[in-house]
Symmetry: C2
Subunit: 463 residues, 2 copies
């Protein structure tokens, strides 16, 4: 009942910063750590949610973090581990004493332990598995047999089921006597005698119905099952698309093996969007807490690809050295055409990549979308052709130059719309993540087309 905390936390004076870690609070915590004042540290951390403590650990530096963890000791909760960024998690596990780690892990649900184990090396996995009780360890081991990032890794095994012929009274009595209920559950799953889930009843409905009502008469609409080997991104999509709260997971023979709840789906959805954003920007998998060398290494391949792209564009320019030597104005203006094409291409490809991810771009509308992007490119191309034509004439006093840049602009923006849509669609078809690879391809096209159209036209007209 930490209502008071929740109220200061969402106080009106903060407005936009409602849930951001407060710098003064962080400073107070760090000064307690510096003074080695364990009871003050515990008092300061007590009202914080594990997710906020994890954020705190991510935002302070390595030494402060180690000191804090050392002083915090047995207060350290398992939930903090599950909330931590991977890169920091490794370090934190390395400095936790074995007893603290064992205590922390023992409190976690099996799906959280699985989530934790996925990113650890074998030695650390061993340590954590050793800390678990027998039943829990078996549950975790079973979950680890499912593919990474699948529904099987995401689900909890504890479910509440009832035979299809039960009534409300029987079900409530059964639940009340049960000793192994999941921490969170929102539905009672109706199963046939082969453990095939066939429907579910929400707890709200169960609770508001008379004891004699049959479960079969109050089942929820929109019941659907998730295959245990389904990719977690698809699971998150299904939760968001169909407004699921919890849904049963089934094996290949449609038997119930677990249950996924919306909170897990929500964090997957968040991760997937984050991943798309980072991939579109060529930033790989990294996070703010990764060491400098690792981050450098993650970004290097994308810069290397860009370098190859840029050199290819330079090779195009090199074909027109003689023309440029004669008309230096071409060197001044040529980056404009390439840059506008690159931007328009990025606009188109971002829309296409997201539409593919959200399943809004499919075989049913792909041609319409391509036509639309080309048209948008054409209209914007004509508008900016006019602008640049005028700029060309005014700046360099050459109608020919103005005409050349105008035509090159139209060509490049049309190609940008075309490439920006077709490239992601084709990459997706051949099984390459369009978020990852589209940018380099599209920029290559718009750079090369931009320089070639502009300089080629100039060579033809001006020489």
């Amino acid at each position: 009942m930490n209502q008071e905390y929740s109220q200061t936390d969402t106080g009106e004076e903060h407005d936009d910063l409602d849930y951001e870690l407060d710098k003064r609070a962080v400073d107070a915590i760090l000064s307690a750590v510096e003074e080695g004042d364990q009871s003050r540290l515990n008092a300061l951390l007590l009202p914080l949610h594990a997710a906020d403590i994890a954020d705190l650990l991510e935002q302070i530096d390595d030494d402060e973090r180690n000191d804090l963890i050392g002083l915090y000791g047995h207060g350290f909760d398992g939930d903090i581990l599950t909330e931590l960024d991977e890169s920091i998690r490794d370090e934190v596990i390395a400095v936790l004493s074995p007893e603290v780690l064992a205590g922390a892990v023992r409190d976690l649900d099996s799906d959280d332990v699985v989530d934790l184990l996925e990113d650890l090396d074998a030695a650390q996995q061993q340590t954590i598995m050793g800390a678990l009780e027998e039943g829990e360890r078996q549950a975790v081991q079973r979950a680890m047999t499912y593919p990474e990032e699948s529904a099987g890794r995401l689900m909890q095994r504890e479910v509440v089921t009832a035979p299809t012929h039960w009534n409300v009274g029987e079900t409530i009595d059964f639940i009340r006597q049960s000793t192994t209920l999941p921490d969170q559950f929102y539905h009672v799953i109706l199963v046939d005698d082969q453990m095939h889930p066939v429907a579910y009843v929400s707890l709200g409905k169960l609770m508001s119905s008379a004891r004699t009502v049959l479960l079969a008469d109050i089942t929820d609409e929109g019941f659907r099952t998730i295959p245990v080997d389904q990719d977690e991104g698809e699971v998150a999509y299904a939760f968001n698309q169909y407004h699921l709260i919890s849904t049963p997971v089934v094996d290949a023979s449609d038997r119930l093996v677990g249950m996924i709840t919306i909170d897990d789906a929500m964090s997957v959805l968040d991760d997937e969007a984050e991943e798309d954003i980072m991939r579109l920007a060529g930033v790989g998998e990294g996070s703010l807490t990764d060491p400098v060398i690792e981050t450098t290494w993650q970004r290097l391949p994308w810069l290397a690809v860009n370098l190859v792209t840029a050199i290819m564009a330079s090779l195009v320019i090199a074909q027109f050295e003689a023309t440029i030597a004669q008309f230096v104005a071409l060197a001044v203006l040529m980056p404009i055409v390439a840059s506008m094409g690159g931007n328009a291409g990025t606009q188109s490809l971002t829309v296409a990549v997201r539409a593919i991810a959200t399943k809004d771009l499919t075989g049913s509308n792909v041609w319409r979308v391509i036509r639309r992007e080309v048209l948008v490119g054409l209209i914007n191309g004509l508008i900016f052709a006019l602008v640049m034509g005028v700029v060309g004439v005014v700046w360099f006093g050459s109608p020919a130059l103005g005409g050349i840049i105008a035509v090159a602009m139209v060509i490049n923006l049309v190609i940008a719309g075309l490439a920006g849509t077709v490239i992601p669609v084709v990459l997706d078809k051949v099984g390459v993540d369009p978020a990852l690879a589209s940018g380099a391809f599209v920029t290559t096209v718009t750079d090369i087309v931009g320089f070639f159209a502009f300089l080629g036209l100039a060579a033809a007209v001006l020489l």
Copy 2:
């Protein structure tokens, strides 16, 4: 109990396309529409979730959509409207007959009606308000008094409350007799006699406890309230950060006014990430279903900003026309330096923009993050300086040119790391959305620095 459908829908042969609209299914529906076969159309649409029907309406063309809606008639469900993209929603509402629209809207929860109304023009709002029953209309009108995109618009007003002194038995009996329960609820909110929420009990806990247990003894940890005027993005953040399932909404005097559930928070979180992606790419608010002219218009401002940026870069180049006229190789190589800087800057700014959005970049670590990005830029700068130095020497046989491009590369990548972090942070501080504006600023910086460093060094060394 549409389990059979759910199974064909998630059949293994589809794998990655589990939830994507099947082109054959779409074609079958369209052929039913073309033949005017209403019963076949209804049979084909019956197993589809409203969200899938909405996707279908978005992916077919205008004529097909109008014909389908005309034929579908009274089958048209209100949920389809709430699932539709805004741009299509307007059109669909325009073609629905008044009776069908009234029927569709009457089935919706008040929060869904509010969501629908937000995007409509006054005349359409009138039509929909006219279709509502009196009580519902009042609820909707009250919700519309809260700011747009606030918790007040997102919440449902129907909540289940209990006095703090009740026990489990009293609560269950109360719920069972209640006739105005919300469609979905996961918690019973404990309120004091001034209707201040003080804690809540999950339905699972309620159901698994003996009738004599006091509610106060089985309250959930992690209870927190949301102010009714809080921005919906902050609400979504709180749900994701604190793993909330449902949480009470309070007014300025901390009185209970409603309840937000995680499914609504999830769709806000999804929208916010989408918005960030689109803004980072300079694509405004648009969707795939917007008309060509509207899309052109949305993208134009970003291209215009980019044009200004590009012209500023050209002005820098123009300062060195004499140098370029003498050494045309400079014109060939100069786009490489600018392009590498632009890419490295985009990497840094994307990481910074997302870290600001997820509250991972705060006053506590901003200097550490800036130092880190500069270091990453420096190391990658040195690596690519080496590569380009060699390319310069091999391609043009000029160690001087190789040295110049190498130094310019280091300078530009360091500046890219610096600008890519500082610019979003400063924009955020002054209240401008960093996702929206960072790109143009960072690219301007890397273009100008890139051209100036490379050509300036060349002018100094080569002339």
